[in-house]
Subunit: 236 residues, 2 copies
DNA sequence: TATAATCTTAACGAATGCTTAACGCTTATG
DNA sequence: CATAAGCGTTAAGCATTCGTTAAGATTATA
């Protein structure tokens, strides 16, 4: 960082889209770096240590998933994946490999900026709030989760959650603002060797929502990301 | 402690990582000691009595879990475990054996410091609670526990509890509002090396409830968290 | 030592939670 | 606009866990 701003690395081979993203970020006071293929991206990440990486999955020289895998061997820099709508699967795999968020083309200015801000905030949570999170609480609107007491409250009233329900909501809240894929949640709760679809997860989520949401059809706390997973609202 | 600072013992065989941790702690005003294997660590803990121990699980001469077990036979010094392993099992085992917290490599400066601060704070909590416990009382609705007199009253009337029954209710009331797992309660009452299921605990709880609850089927003081443990109602 | 109190173990019914399957609704996609 | 896929919801069967009782084992006490 040459000044007080965040630095972002944009990895994109299509010139038009690259320019579009760079323009948005530059206009919003980011220090922007560019890479046009995978190997260039890897070098720049290690040499320039950007605060956030915007990564297109469809690069000419390397598979986007390999890039994420390699980057994650040495740094936890937030990665926001950009994917075409036709490659839904890739998006999910990228998240499972350690990407922080995703944007589907075409996307607007505010969406890109929001995702980047969220990703940057995740790093702050990891660093500064580690001890708060450990012994602490999660608060979002009228929802409160006390990890120490294993207690969930809505509007000050106790809400009884079963074992699995609590595990799910705890996992989501500890990753608030981030999409967790069905597979990730499933394996986190039922163990890495568990096999099965996400039907069970849907039932549990329905039960959770009935208990914590005022209107399950328009949730305020846990959002569904179609085809991908669930995302908990940012804490406040 | 040669001055007013906390002393930390870093137990790590890999020189690079050891230097990294030592640098972080030294820069943040800790008095740092070092050990490079398990036996050395055990000696230094007993001789120097550090305020906190940062322990790598992958030491050359001893299994990290054995070290925790041995240390816990004579001191409750907080132990923060450092491990490259990402498996949940190791984490759970280490924590169950008495470790206070867990960091997975790679980790950042602020994360390490946060964990250490949290671990140190736990000790303070333990101390403060001890004072309160000895001079204090627990009150919740019509239930009163006098820790000095070792006396339990319901609606002003004395209730006779057996040794184990009192230990259980005292432990729960001292952690009122928090779920204590069956395993934790069991090990707290019968000792860390006790083995057996929670059948005994269920019988004791039935007896306790018969004595203190008006309606055991709808308890007011001790609640069951299915598959997890028991929770005592908040004091008032 | 005798007696009472307490602890432990085992068995079983009851309550709770988990999972599966079916179905309707919403959302993507051509 | 039609079709297909994904998600939410419900209810029923199944598995697990808990509470309770009673009997035997152990410990305390006179």
């Amino acid at each position: 960082m040459s000044n007080n701003h965040f630095s972002a690395l944009v990895v994109e081979d299509e010139t038009n889209i690259a320019n579009y993203i760079v323009a948005i970020l530059t206009a919003n006071k980011y220090d922007v770096l560019q890479a046009h293929d995978g190997s260039q991206a890897l070098m720049m990440i290690s040499s320039h240590c950007p605060d956030v990486v915007i990564l297109d999955l469809g690069l000419p020289d390397m598979d986007g998933q390999n890039i994420i895998k390699l980057v994650r061997t040495w740094t936890q820099v937030p990665i926001v994946v950009v994917s075409a709508r036709t490659h839904e699967r890739d998006k999910v795999m990228a998240l499972d490999l350690g990407a922080d968020d995703y944007i589907t083309k075409p996307f607007g200015t505010s969406e890109l900026l929001a995702r980047v801000r969220t990703a940057l905030r995740h790093v702050n949570m990891r660093d500064v709030n580690t001890d708060i999170r450990q012994a602490g609480m999660f608060t979002c609107g009228d929802l409160t989760i006390d990890y120490d007491k294993r207690q969930v409250c809505v509007c000050g009233a106790d809400v009884h959650l079963t074992q699995n329900e609590y595990k799910i909501i705890a996992l989501l809240s500890q990753n608030a603002g981030r999409v967790l894929t069905y597979d990730y949640i499933f394996k986190s709760i039922w163990g890495p060797s568990a096999n099965g679809d996400n039907q069970v997860l849907r039932v549990h989520m329905a039960n959770i929502r009935r208990k914590i949401e005022q209107n399950a059809a328009a949730p305020r706390y846990v959002f569904t990301e179609m085809g991908v997973g669930y995302r908990m609202a940012q804490s406040d």
